[in-house]
Symmetry: C2
Subunit: 253 residues, 2 copies
């Protein structure tokens, strides 16, 4: 059957997350049901580059699916978008991909951004896209601490208890913290991430930003391999899945 | 009575606009009622740098008010923010200003941005902050056309029928059009604008972006002084009031 890749944008606020969960509203279920008319009425399985949690957003997630119909990718894109209305889940672009191509297993790199609104006043714009922190954060200290976490490590201290990955070894390629106006933005890139890894990293760097912990502390937490020692899991709202990288990239239309 | 300036952020989606209108929900009314406890229970008059229309947003509008109480500006900021909950209207910062200082009349420059999402798929993120245009726009042509509108002119062709300004003469200092990823962004700056001026400029440049009109057409419309000849008024959603400039700037806290 013809195989397609989808480039996805969604607002995770009112979803239980990417993954199908019984009758809860999930992004996966919405897309599968939207694609059913292109598959003789049977919802196809849609598999994503990464399963985001409830409240986490995506600007450029990638998913794959097989359909009974052989269609130009723009037809797939437009048909699914028509059927996801009025929900905030859209196919930005679609592509034909080879048999066996996998959005999850062929992905060579994933990128997230975490946005902290760091000012006394709560957000009026994009309230569901930000973690609001009133007290001033030292973004430079957070960045310095983050650099000590780069590279290949056992990230057990930063994984969720529910994480299903067999190994906690991951290679963190980028973890930048920068002040952008009233925001502190954390940019994370790796081939893959553990469950809650980005949010646990942000929650731990936050302690450094407040001056409650030294810049060496997140590295000590890493080496301790103990989830109980890390900071809080930062709230989902501030997190957005930005991109999944493939070589060659799908021919998006 | 002590006079204060407020630096405001608001999402205009569910308001009838800035200006008080009987029982409709306006940003002005919400702020005036929120400030009443700081003024012996009487809602003070809050006057803005600019009156935005229904659906138009603000990142950095400025307003002034007088209060019976002499308070540190951060107290004014926090007290109003507590009382505007849960509405998406916040005081980013406040400042004490001199008697007679006017957010409207002392303003030396105003800045707007208009965001067009230019791709086939509708927006899933920030849907109320964008004008969705499916067909590709030629942003370079729009920019070229915009440059011919800079300077001091009679902008009668670009003002709303309901515009109350005595003169339609304005000096347009900046009108840039640039493609930023999937968006086409229009940045407009002037000492002051006429009612609907930015949205009418965007709606007219849009005709050039589609190739339906030559790059010289918006200038011809300007010189014709006839509102009936310009393009449509672009929808309010894409417009955000970015800043109001003063010299010296209020001492925001």
């Amino acid at each position: 059957m013809p195989r397609y890749a989808l480039l996805l944008e969604y607002d995770g606020t009112n979803f239980c997350g990417w993954q199908r969960q019984h009758d809860l509203p999930s992004v996966q279920k919405l897309l599968e049901e939207a694609a059913a008319p292109l598959n003789h009425g049977v919802p196809p399985t849609v598999t994503a580059s990464g399963r985001t949690d409830a409240g986490v957003h995506a600007e450029g997630a990638v998913a794959d699916l097989e359909l009974a119909l052989d269609l130009p990718p723009q037809r797939v894109r437009d048909a699914i978008n028509f059927r996801t209305l009025p929900h905030p889940v859209v196919v930005r672009a679609a592509a034909r991909v080879a048999d066996g191509w996998s959005a999850r297993f062929d992905c060579l790199g994933r990128g997230y951004r975490y946005r902290i609104l760091n000012r006394p006043a709560r957000p009026a714009l994009e309230a569901s896209k930000l973690w609001h922190v009133k007290r001033p954060l030292d973004a430079a200290a957070m960045h310095e601490a983050a650099q000590m976490l780069l590279g290949r490590h056992d990230f057990s201290a930063y994984r969720a208890a529910a994480c299903q990955a067999k190994s906690a070894i991951r290679t963190l390629d980028r973890l930048d913290v920068a002040r952008v106006g009233e925001e502190v933005q954390v940019t994370a890139e790796a081939r893959s991430f553990l469950h809650h890894q980005v949010r646990n990293l942000v929650g731990t760097l936050y302690e450094v930003g407040h001056g409650r912990r030294p810049v060496t502390w997140p590295r000590e937490v890493l080496e301790g391999l103990d989830r109980g020692k890390a900071g809080q899991t930062a709230p989902p709202d501030g997190l957005v899945f930005r991109f999944a990288r493939y070589e060659p990239a799908p021919e998006w239309v």
